[in-house]
């Protein structure tokens, strides 16, 4: 779950990180009143709160010389889509005059099974760009998850970066604050980019926090509605509301599988045999008949899918449950009929196969056969 910039800054500020003075305006707020009473001193930065990368380049960040200008820019940005997305919040902040832009983030090094701090003197661009253009500038530091990031370690990072004097300890404090937020919010990523140095103080000009979706239940206070991603289609957001792992694609063969690997491989097979998948839909492990029914109905209604290829190899998923779900979906569906090709193998495969065949659906044993049929039917 990606947090908005203003949320990330709010969290970091509670951990002692300096951020520019600012105010958040929500869609529908009295913009003029809110900015007038905010006590902010121009020049101001008006920032569209969208959860997509490249917001600056897309025109989502504007400079206002006066409060009056900030009011009109705020109103303008509410209606200015960034990669197809209109913001619900605008953050207006005092501009911080600065000459340097640094980078700092904390994420998980999956291979090392350790949190890792990344820092560079060359911020303002994203980490991939830094890695391409200034790879030697990146300092990496692994943290023992049982010890946390201790002060002396944070200072070592600051020194390796080449910082001097009092900035060392204020940068070290920033890293420790980021680390504590990273742990307390079960974050996949805490990033401050850019940050700058004013005197001996470190100021976070932008901030990102991504909370692990598996842990988001721990933070009910973050449960505001948020639209993630740049180009979530209508069907993708509908799927999200239904709790389905669905990605819309360009083609016409509907694809559904159990498990990400098998579902991706099913897509790969469609391509390999000359078709183009209409989507990716993973019902996950151990899906109930109810869940399968929901997913199949969704694909039946999804207009891009001209035919449907269902590829199931049951482990924790039971083929009989899947069969029941498919049958119920087909019974309930009242739209234009669509050809459905089901491959069933694995746990309780005989029962599932029997159920489907009693209902009049052929259950393939070999997915290649099912794929070929599905591609042909979509044409």
């Amino acid at each position: 779950m990606k947090l908005y910039e203003f949320e990330a800054k709010g969290i970091l500020a509670r951990y002692g990180v300096s951020t520019p003075k600012g105010v958040v305006v929500a869609k529908g707020d009295d913009v003029r009143g809110k900015l007038a009473s905010s006590g902010l001193t121009p020049p101001l930065v008006v920032k569209s709160q969208v959860l997509v990368a490249g917001r600056g380049k897309a025109g989502g960040i504007r400079i206002a010389r006066s409060v009056e200008e900030a009011v009109s820019l705020t109103e303008f940005l509410f209606d200015y889509p960034i990669k197809g997305l209109r913001p619900r919040y605008i953050l207006v902040e005092e501009a911080v005059e600065h000459s340097s832009e640094l980078y700092a983030s904390i994420t998980i090094d999956k291979s090392a099974r350790r949190p890792v701090v990344l820092a560079s003197l060359y911020g303002g661009m994203d980490i991939e760009e830094i890695a391409r253009e200034k790879p030697e500038s990146i300092v990496r530091y692994h943290v023992d998850p049982y010890m946390g990031l201790r002060g002396f370690e944070a200072r070592l990072i600051a020194k390796k970066l080449g910082l001097k004097g009092g900035v060392i300890s204020s940068f070290a404090s920033l890293l420790q604050s980021m680390y504590n937020a990273f742990v307390d919010y079960s974050a996949d990523l805490v990033e401050v980019n850019p940050l700058t140095i004013v005197g001996e103080k470190v100021v976070a000009l932008d901030a990102r926090i991504i909370v692990d979706d598996n842990a988001s239940y721990k933070y009910p206070e973050l449960a505001i509605e948020r639209v993630e991603g740049g180009e979530v289609s209508e069907w993708e957001s509908r799927a999200r509301r239904l709790g389905l792992a669905f990605v819309e694609l360009e083609g016409d063969v509907g694809v559904m599988g159990n498990g990400a690997g098998l579902t991706m491989t099913s897509m790969d097979l469609v391509y390999e045999y000359g078709g183009v998948p209409a989507n990716f839909l993973d019902i996950g492990g151990g899906a109930s008949a109810e869940r399968v029914k929901k997913a199949v109905l969704f694909l039946l209604e999804f207009p891009k899918a001209k035919s449907i290829f269902i590829n199931i190899f049951g482990g924790i998923t039971r083929c009989d449950e899947v069969a029941r779900g498919i049958i119920e979906a087909l019974k309930e569906y009242s739209g234009k009929p669509k050809p459905v090709f089901v491959r069933l193998s694995g746990t309780r495969e005989e029962e599932g196969r029997r159920l489907l065949e009693e209902f009049g659906i052929r259950a393939f044993d070999n997915p290649l056969d099912a794929v070929v049929e599905a591609i042909r039917a979509a044409r």
Partner: protein, 290 residues
Amino acid sequence: MAVLVGRDTVVVVQGITGREGSFHTKLMLEYGTRIAAGVTPGKGGGEVHGVKVYDSVQEALQEHPEVNTSIVFVPARFASDAVYEAIDAGLKLVVVITEGIPVHETLRFTNYARSKGTVVVGPNCPGVITPGEAKVGIMPGHVFSRGPVGIVSRSGTITYEISYALTKEGLGQSTVIGIGGDPVVGLTFTEAMEMFEKDPETRALVIIGEIGGDMEERAAKMIMEGKFTKPVVAFIAGKTAPPGKRMGHAGAIIMMGEGDYASKVKALEKAGVKVARNPFEIPGLVSRVL
């Protein structure tokens, strides 16, 4: 011989009274796995498919000191606690089936397990099977047969697909390890490969990878460095997945340009590994290297 599980494996099922725990206890028993006890806090005293249920691993071990392995079906919010319980009870292998455990929790318990000498497989994994000896997992048993091919995989269902294809071609498996699809797992490709390297029965290895992460690249590096010397073939799922889209579980996300399909195939081929275009090519490739 084989790796991780075998005839000496005696299992406690944590979360045995739940829907999945109970169902797969039955299937594992049917497969011949020795299950000595089950645990569900508050349900001690009952029985599931003839297996006695205890309130804690400690109590289970008092009655069944021969237990050396746990399989965890406990729901995500309580799963970490179950893993710690198994580690502290001194079990040497803990297979975590549970999906949806926060990665910060996995980070902690996998590090803890390492410090205590316990191998954790998973989380979010199908488990481990040594065909004909023991199945500690949720995989459909009938698709496996015994033989010289080791398999280590990040994807549950593709593992079944490929094992089934191998079995149909008469190519049996020594041990099949599903390491799980989460970003952080207790047992990585390279750690599993160290085990297969030492196992005399395993004569070839199938690596089943997925886009995202760098585990396949590390496996390739290990082969390049001569630390894994047996023939290897591979399949990588996600060739046609669009970048930046989350494809199902967290392991399969292409971002930061790290670990895309091309990079993995390139690294593996450079290490001399044949990469199959689809799962059904695997048996042919394996036959050639055996």
